[in-house]
């Protein structure tokens, strides 16, 4: 047992920042608000560094117990934090990327209303996210899990005056409820099965259980956990909230809906890898869902015109890749992709934010173009991310994506090929976005201007990380878990993957640089298929027709008019009417006439005396 590292300081610092900004922020100048926000995250980043350097290479996880939270029979749940190699990566990503995005947000949010409110929420998010990754038991993870959901809800609906923002926030919250439901059920099953929620105890006990060839209790737990992960990490069929979540400010999209929160699902699957390893059926489900999500989201991304929507679907798609890795038991590759994705997707979003900032709120790529020369720094940094996500060798995205696809190849050949095609599509739509935004002639009306240093600075740091971060973190990540297949010789596979990425870029260049208008004719040629994809496979409409409307109709006719009005109101009003009727009789006693009151007293006295007599005399 190593000495205490005061891990609690890591999440508490942003909480203090959130409290200060939330309570006093209105009265503080913007300088002070940004200083509080940034310094709290910086403090927690430095504290992470200090703890990690003190803890060394973490051969054994470092755990700290603070106090017992819930004690019920044999079940004891404490507020425990721990750091192991998985947590280490997550901590670095969350505090590091979080710090950069905080700095970026100071510049981005400069002109917005609710400056202090924004940073209060953002710091609150950091608190919950750090709680989530530090927690040593499922319930504490759930606290963070729900907390980041809350912060996400608050930040998606940050623009209080916009109805769509509020609707998007509610959508995110409600869809996440489904996932949380799964997570809660998983926790109940874990308590029943293992009698504890503590990671160490649960995983030790689970490690002794055999691999379930047929669905058993571990499969059930794993699948329920995965339902939770699906909600938080926007997988099929619960991904619909994430594209809408782009209604929030762009730094939020970058931090919460690309880099950190949405990877919580991957984190929990990796964390519970012991359980998933023993539930092959669940692993298959994870793989299929991940693959399906990757393909669907990638194809939708091809057709979108809103720059943030493109990157949102890209996020969904990349999350699908991470789950594919988990499904192939390559958890460390999944987490590796979490890390690299955090870098390059943060750049993509922050860069998109910079573009939007430069164009005064324009998000439609049809009204962009030729921005290369007008905002060169943004363009340059975005290029790094573009090449990274496309899988161009030498950039970190290629490393993790290669690992994932190679691991998938070990699991199933056809999934590998679908994954490769999806990687190609990924390269295609990101390139498309880049070409539409930065090349050609400028099609908009606003006058673009380069973003301030507080925005370009973090962009550059993240851009360099999306190039080199993969090499920096590779060993750190691979220390997590079982050896992955990537160490073998997979030259041909890697070649195929790289080729797919370059093919995607080339096709995009062909369609959007050399032959403008070709994309229109292709879209026309594909006709209904294009329309279907452009409408995001009409999943929202399907949910609306299949779920929302029946629920609404049921709520209205059965719950509201039937249950509420007839039954509950009937009972309530009936009680009221009965009371009023009894009161109508009883009020005759309250005639206001003193003698009648006296009569009651006499009657009562007589009855009490007679009662005494019946009970057995006055003694």
């Amino acid at each position: 047992m190593t000495e205490s590292q005061s891990l609690w300081l890591i999440p508490i610092l942003p909480l203090i920042g959130a409290a200060l900004n939330g309570l006093l922020g209105r009265r503080l100048p913007k300088m002070a608000v940004s200083a509080i926000a940034i310094l709290s995250v910086l403090g927690s980043f430095l504290w992470v560094m200090k703890c990690l350097s003190a803890l060394g290479n973490l051969d054994t996880p470092h755990a700290e117990h603070y106090f017992t939270w819930i004690q019920s029979g044999a079940l004891e749940i404490g507020v425990d934090f721990m750091v192991d190699r998985l947590t280490r990566i997550m901590l670095l990503i969350v505090t590091g990327v979080g710090l950069l995005i905080h700095i970026y947000a100071v510049g981005y949010m400069d002109h917005e209303e609710g400056f202090s409110r924004f940073f209060s929420y953002l710091n609150l998010f950091m608190f919950f996210m750090l709680t989530l990754v530090l927690a040593k038991n499922f319930l504490l993870v759930f606290v963070g899990w729900e907390g980041v959901g809350l912060a996400s809800y608050l930040l998606i609906g940050f623009y209080l005056k916009e109805k769509f923002a509020g609707d998007a926030g509610k959508k995110a919250f409600i869809v996440n409820r489904i996932g949380d439901f799964g997570f809660s059920l998983a926790m109940f099953l874990i308590v029943i099965t293992f009698g504890s929620l503590d990671f160490t105890k649960v995983f030790e006990a689970a490690a002794k259980m055999p691999v379930e060839a047929h669905a058993g209790i571990l499969t059930a737990i794993a699948l329920l956990l995965f339902v939770g992960a699906c909600g938080k990490s926007a997988q099929m069929p619960l991904y619909v909230w994430l594209p809408d979540a782009m209604a929030g400010p762009t730094p939020v999209s970058a931090l919460i809906h690309a880099a950190t929160m949405v990877t919580a699902g991957v984190y929990i699957v990796a964390r519970a890898s012991v359980i998933f390893d023993r539930a092959p059926i669940a692993l298959d489900v994870v793989s299929y869902i991940g693959l399906l999500t990757a393909v669907v989201a990638a194809t939708i991304g091809v057709t979108q015109y809103d720059i943030k929507k493109v990157f949102a679907y890209s996020t969904v798609s990349q999350l699908g890749f991470m789950f594919m890795a988990c499904g192939a038991k390559a958890y460390s590759s999944g987490i590796f992709h979490v890390a690299t994705h955090a870098f390059f997707k943060a750049v993509l979003f922050l860069g998109a934010g910079s573009v939007i900032h430069a164009l005064h709120g324009e998000q439609d790529m049809r009204n962009m173009g030729g921005l290369r020369s007008k905002i060169p720094q943004t363009f340059a940094t975005l290029c790094f991310a573009w090449l990274a996500i496309s899988g161009v060798p030498g950039f970190s995205g290629a490393l993790s994506k290669d690992e994932i696809l190679i691991a998938v190849h070990g699991k199933s050949e056809w999934m590998f090929w679908v994954g490769v095609v999806t990687a190609g599509i990924t390269a295609f739509y990101v390139s498309r976005a880049m070409f539409m935004t930065f090349f050609g002639e400028y099609r908009g009306k606003a006058h673009p201007h380069e973003s301030p240093l507080s925005m370009t600075g973090p962009l550059w740091v993240l851009a360099l990380l999306s190039a080199a971060g993969g090499y920096l973190m590779r060993d750190l990540v691979h220390s997590i878990g079982p050896e992955t297949a990537s160490h073998g010789d997979h030259g041909s596979l890697e070649f195929i993957i790289v080729a797919a990425g370059l093919l995607g870029i080339g096709l995009a260049a062909f369609m959007y640089l050399m032959n403008r208008g070709l994309s229109q004719s292709v879209a026309k040629a594909l006709g209904p298929v294009y329309r279907l994809v452009y409408d995001k496979y009409r999943v929202d409409e399907f949910y609306d027709a299949a779920l929302v409307r029946p629920i609404q109709a049921g709520s209205e006719s059965v719950l509201w008019k039937g249950l509420d009005v007839l039954l509950i109101d009937g009972v309530v009003n009936g009680v009221g009417r009965t009371a009023s009727a009894i009161g109508g009789i009883l009020r005759r006693c309250q005639g206001g006439h003193v003698p009648s009151y006296a009569t009651w007293i006499v009657l009562g006295a007589a009855l009490v005396l007679i009662g005494f007599q019946l009970v057995g005399g006055g003694r």
Binding site: P595, T599, A605, L609, I610, Q613, G618
Partner: protein
């Protein structure tokens, strides 16, 4: 030979009869002044009964404070308000139909209690208990019961002020 009736017994019976008759008169007289005078009769007979029970001091206080001061106050108010006979009002069925039977039941049960639970009470003899004089009463009042006594003085003060405030409204 006519047995010489015991004076204790005779006195009680006479006084009790007188008290009950006066009490009936209180509640049955139509005119308030007549009721008040009947009440004085009740109080007077009770004063004598107190005397027979050995409460000399109380008997005197009963006559002076109750039959004297309080009843004078009553008569004064009756005169002031010039309250004549009650006018015949609507019958109060509820009070008659429920109240009186309950009252009779109450009386019956409590008498039954007294006779059943206290079958062997000591017989009253004039002069058998002589602790009710002013001296023992005063001694107890200013030692053991000093605090309640002072509190009652406060109570009386409050009553005086309250009565003045209530009655003063007339002038405003």
């Amino acid at each position: 030979m006519i047995p010489m009736p015991n004076l204790d017994v005779l006195g009680f019976l006479v006084l009790a009869t007188f008290a009950v008759l006066c009490g009936l008169s209180v509640i049955l007289q139509k005119h308030a002044v007549a009721s008040a005078l009947s009440l004085v009769g009740v109080m007077g007979s009770l004063a004598v009964l107190y005397l027979m029970l050995g409460a000399e001091f109380l008997a005197a206080v009963q006559m002076i404070v109750y039959a004297g001061a309080i009843m004078v106050l009553f008569v004064f108010v009756i005169m002031l308000l010039n309250s004549g006979s009650e006018r015949p009002a609507k019958a109060r069925y509820f009070a008659y139909l429920v109240g009186i039977p309950s009252l009779l039941a109450f009386l019956g049960v409590i008498s039954f209690f007294i006779l059943k639970e206290l079958p062997n009470t000591s017989s009253v003899q004039f002069g058998a208990f002589t602790q009710g004089g002013p001296a023992p009463v005063g001694r107890l009042l200013f030692t053991q019961y000093l605090l309640p006594f002072e509190v009652t003085s406060l109570l009386v003060l409050i009553a005086i002020i309250g009565a003045m405030v209530l009655a003063k409204k007339e002038i405003d």
